[in-house]
């Protein structure tokens, strides 16, 4: 797994949460099985961008993904309207996936905490290479479950056995048949 430098943001003293260096498979599986609708902050309209890949893959697996991108508000990605902010999306959200930098994650997290009760948000997920322990601490204090420096597409594929098809080390040992997470 990529080691991400832990930096102080917003002038706040450095926070390091060692429990976020790794996550039990069962924690990730439970989140991915439970989440139905999530917002992707930093979704791209461009089909070559990694966020587009992740959105397309997870949509196919049965998630509803709401794209958030202030520069693209009103456009559509994969049939979903793009919203300029979390607050502008009128419906319920189970999770927010941050596809922005570690530094930007702090302000986005504050938006998530503000919108949490109204939208029913339970999980804050930061993408692979995105880690902000200060933001995670605030989110956890607000009652959110936090995952950092992971990609939900890669974790879904890993736990479903699909990542292994490309020779990637899933770190799973099991004598049970691999099954899709959502099945």
């Amino acid at each position: 797994m990529v080691d991400v430098a832990i930096k102080s943001t917003d002038g706040h003293p450095l926070v390091f949460l060692p429990q976020h260096d790794g996550y039990a498979d069962e924690t990730l599986r439970t989140i991915l099985r439970g989440v139905e609708t999530f917002a992707m902050v930093g979704a791209s309209t461009h089909w070559r961008r990694p966020s587009f890949y992740a959105m397309k893959y997870l949509t196919k697996k049965g998630f509803r993904v709401i794209p958030i991108n202030p520069g693209r508000a009103g456009e559509t990605i994969l049939g979903e309207t793009v919203y300029g902010s979390l607050a502008e999306f009128p419906g319920k959200l189970d999770m927010v996936d941050i596809f922005r930098t570690s530094e930007e994650a702090l302000d986005i997290t504050k938006d998530v905490i503000a919108a949490k009760d109204e939208k029913g948000i339970e999980v804050l997920w930061m993408q692979l290479t995105v880690r902000n322990d200060h933001a995670a601490q605030l989110a956890e204090e607000a009652g959110l479950t936090v995952i950092m420096n992971r990609c939900p597409k890669i974790e879904y594929a890993r736990l479903s056995g699909e990542l292994s098809w490309s020779g990637i080390n899933s770190r799973i040992v099991s004598a049970k048949r691999a099954r899709p997470v959502k099945s």
């Binding site: 039990a24 196919k60 890669i154 699909e162 990637i168 080390n169 770190r171 040992v173 049970k176």
Partner: protein, 441 residues
């Protein structure tokens, strides 16, 4: 969301994934019961191609937007099990198998080197690799600087702006030399290039180079991983920890790739970007894929890697001690012997044993050496290592034949050298066979 509320209520804390022992990984990693039939042994997917669900599914697969099989030149379910198995044994992130160890080395070059680029290699290498790097790669404009890496500062001296990686065999063929991987990793880190270790001779049971700072590992799986002398194969394993963005030396990883509709592999695939790049471009375009049947044979072999390596190493040490005490033997180069100059490094990097391949020389020189090769009965005279059977060869006239005399001596394959790959037979029979041959030499 009820399940998640239950998890929270239980106070379940995130934890690191379980670390399995290497004996467990050798049997299980990458292989689960077949999802459709429940078949417990990995099936041989003897097929060239895989059916698409519809046009959109096909397009997603070709775009690398979803995971799945297209064509066995690129991925195959049986081969994928071997790839994940070896990646797990090496504690790496991902792996790509190839038809042979030489093909695996070629795929590394094809992924990291442009024509005109350079790399630095240890001169203590399998002779075939010396020729591949020094002669055949040169025709592609890939320029290799060979240095003696037993002195890591030699690498520093050979470094140029065009060098893209450092390559070595940690435990070198034909034997007896162990390199200081951590010192070499320090040089590679300082210059922002990956350290690539050929781990064929040690196998991941004896040494895991990623734990000492290596970034990529290559194997000829033909040798100890397969272990039975019946199947060709190679593999490249990625640690997932090399930062391709730290400098501008790796445009093939960090710039949009014209061979893949402008995809940037290190960005899209993160810590397994190299594995995806090597597979989707180098393996796809040059085509030296591993066959499904070969992968299955190698999977059979790798399950017993820990058991075999224990016996290989115990037998090799006993043979080396026997030879060291034999009046007709001039020298023995086995890092497991206390008298060997690399013994301390072997204890550090190969604590479970110094491997099963080593060399010795007879006081009678070239002629006596050839005599031993001719007079053994159970030892097979052939050009391979890492077989269950004990093997013997005279490198100067065979595996290292294409090298100059100076290169031969530097590679530990001088005119008097005899190489053994000690098998897993009864130790008394192995020593007995050598004993009767030495009597006649």
């Amino acid at each position: 969301m009820n399940e998640m509320q239950r998890l929270k209520a239980q106070g379940a804390e995130p934890a690191l994934p379980t670390d399995y022992g290497i004996e467990t990984l050798a049997v299980h990693a990458g292989a689960r019961p077949d999802p459709v039939t429940g078949a417990r042994s990995t099936p041989i997917y003897q097929t060239t191609s895989f059916a698409f669900d519809d046009a959109d599914h096909a397009a997603e697969l070709f775009n690398l937007q979803t995971f799945g099989y297209i064509y066995s030149r690129i991925t195959n379910p049986t081969v994928a099990v071997l790839e994940e198995r070896v990646a797990a044994l090496e504690n790496g992130r991902g792996a790509v198998a190839a038809a042979t160890g030489h093909a695996a080395q070629f795929l590394v070059g094809a992924t990291l080197l442009e024509s005109g680029d350079e790399f630095i290699s240890s001169n203590n290498l399998y002779g075939g690799s010396v020729t591949q790097f020094g002669v055949s790669f040169k025709k592609l404009g890939w320029n290799c600087h060979f240095v003696d890496m037993t002195e890591p500062e030699n690498v520093e001296r050979a470094m140029t702006d065009k060098v893209k990686f450092i390559f070595c065999e940690g435990l070198a063929n034909p034997g007896g030399i162990v390199l200081d991987l951590e010192a070499l990793a320090e040089v590679s880190r300082r210059h922002g290039v990956p350290l690539i270790v050929d781990n064929t001779m040690a196998s991941p049971y004896l040494c895991r180079p990623f734990e000492h700072g290596a970034d990529l590992v290559v194997h000829s799986t033909t040798k100890f991983i397969g272990g039975h002398g019946n199947t060709m194969g190679g593999i490249v394993v990625e640690s997932g920890r090399f930062d391709w963005w730290q400098n501008d030396k790796f445009p093939s990883m960090t710039k949009p790739d014209p061979a893949y509709h402008g995809l940037t592999f290190a960005e899209t695939f993160g810590d397994f970007g190299f594995t995806m790049k090597m597979r989707a471009v180098a393996l796809r375009d040059y085509g030296p894929c591993m066959a499904a049947q070969a992968a299955w044979n190698l999977l059979q072999g790798v399950e017993t890697l820990p058991l075999r390596m224990e016996r290989h190493c115990a037998n090799a040490l006993a043979v080396a001690r026997y030879l060291e005490a034999h009046p007709k033997v001039a020298w023995v180069s086995y890092a497991g012997l206390e008298s060997n100059p690399f013994h301390a490094l072997a204890q550090k990097y190969l604590p479970r044993g110094a491997g099963a391949v080593f060399t010795f020389g007879l006081k009678g020189g070239y002629d006596a050496g050839l005599k031993v090769v001719d007079k053994v009965n159970m030892f097979s005279h052939l050009a391979n290592i890492g077989d269950t059977r004990s093997l013997i060869i005279h490198p100067a006239s065979t595996t290292h034949r294409q090298l100059t005399d100076e290169q031969k001596t530097r590679a530990g394959a001088g005119p008097d050298v005899v190489r053994l790959s000690v098998g897993i037979e009864s130790i008394d029979d192995i020593i007995g066979d050598l004993d009767q041959a030495l009597d006649q030499a």
